[in-house]
Symmetry: C2
Subunit: 229 residues, 2 copies
């Protein structure tokens, strides 16, 4: 058995899926630089299946998330960077069929090529076995990331929330004042105030950066105005 | 039976789907202005199912379309404007649950509200019966549009194709010369030339607008350079 065949066999084991029609997998692994028949159509198909499976999972498991949160979470899970990370965990790059130029320039390590090939593999599995089989593989690949899904991470930060709350009520935007900077240059503490003139609210925040201090002050201001609704 | 119930019954007949759990349909028809529990989460789910079913259909039926064409076709089929058209064919607006303000301002006619509700209905059907049932309804709703899918409509026009071909080879862009305008002001004919200096190609085109004439000239130029590859 050739070295490449061994690598592809390892890939299938990591995917937890054995192809009935191995030519589909070969097509999914073929970059457009590698042959006339390449993986871009399968990538189109796989992308839509991946998006749907992740959407369904989030819909079912995050009953309290609103549409905006679900949309942002899904985007973070199906973006190229995440796909490339998963592809690297699978050592997918070693299995690709690339043209000479891409081989020489290290295309097997390029994030976009890896991400596209992973989507194409999902498309190929769907073609080989249908929806349920593809879904099972996707949920397997994403197991760790889906278990760790953090709703808080997709909530907007306090400064943005505060700004949007004020804008939607046509109130003036908050003003942030830098009150004090203390400590050594490499370990400073920033003290800021967040002022909502219209609401007669002034809160304080401190942090290791001006931004962090402002977020803290905004969070306190939000708590006051939302309490007083 | 109330009037609204009759309208909803008619909607189900047009969808070709009867809900096992009618509360899912009611949720799908409820705009955020109409109740605390509204259709936005179902819309998120339905959007991803719709995208996937249309992607799969195009993938299977348009074997010669490349990824770019498939992507553009899908976008044109699932965009809000198309969804709103289908929703109007279903007379979906009459079945919506809207808040007072939206009712008064004619929200039941607003394209975005109609499109979102149709996506939510797809999500509700998926929840009620699973993938195959939702797919069947989607393909039914899109039957006419999918039969009429026109691959040519998503191909790039000749001027764009020519420009991209030249750019990808780092060749100078084509020059278009207006040679002659003839005819009455309301019925003119434009004659133009397309010149590819580097390639020593000069073609002519004529048409009822300068743009049409240029497209024709570009098409001829493309034919010459692609023949000579």
């Amino acid at each position: 058995m050739s070295h490449k065949k061994l690598l592809i066999e390892r890939l299938c084991n990591r995917l937890g899926y054995q192809f009935t029609d191995p030519s589909l997998l070969k097509l999914a692994l073929t970059h457009r630089s590698g042959a006339n028949k390449h993986n871009e159509r399968l990538e189109f198909l796989g992308d839509s299946i991946l998006g749907m499976v992740i959407a369904e999972y989030l819909f079912i498991h995050l009953k309290k998330a609103d549409e905006g949160q679900l949309t942002r979470l899904r985007a973070s899970l199906v973006k190229g960077k995440t796909l490339a990370e998963i592809a690297k965990e699978l050592e997918l790059g070693d299995c690709l069929y690339l043209g000479e130029g891409e081989l020489k320039s290290g295309g097997f390590r390029r994030a976009s090529i890896l991400a596209d090939a992973l989507e194409a593999i999902i498309g190929a599995i769907y073609q080989d076995t249908g929806f349920d089989g593809a879904k099972k593989v996707i949920l397997g690949l994403y197991q760790k990331r889906l278990t760790n899904v953090d709703l808080k991470s997709v909530q907007k930060d306090p400064k943005t929330q505060l700004q949007e709350w004020l804008q939607s009520r046509k109130l003036p935007l908050p003003e942030y004042e830098l009150l004090k900077v203390t400590g050594e240059p490499h370990k400073q503490t920033f003290d800021v105030a967040c002022v909502l003139s219209e609401k007669k609210v002034k809160t304080h925040g401190s942090g290791s950066s001006r931004r962090n201090a402002e977020q803290q002050a905004a969070e306190k201001a939000l708590a006051i105005i939302l309490d007083g609704k």
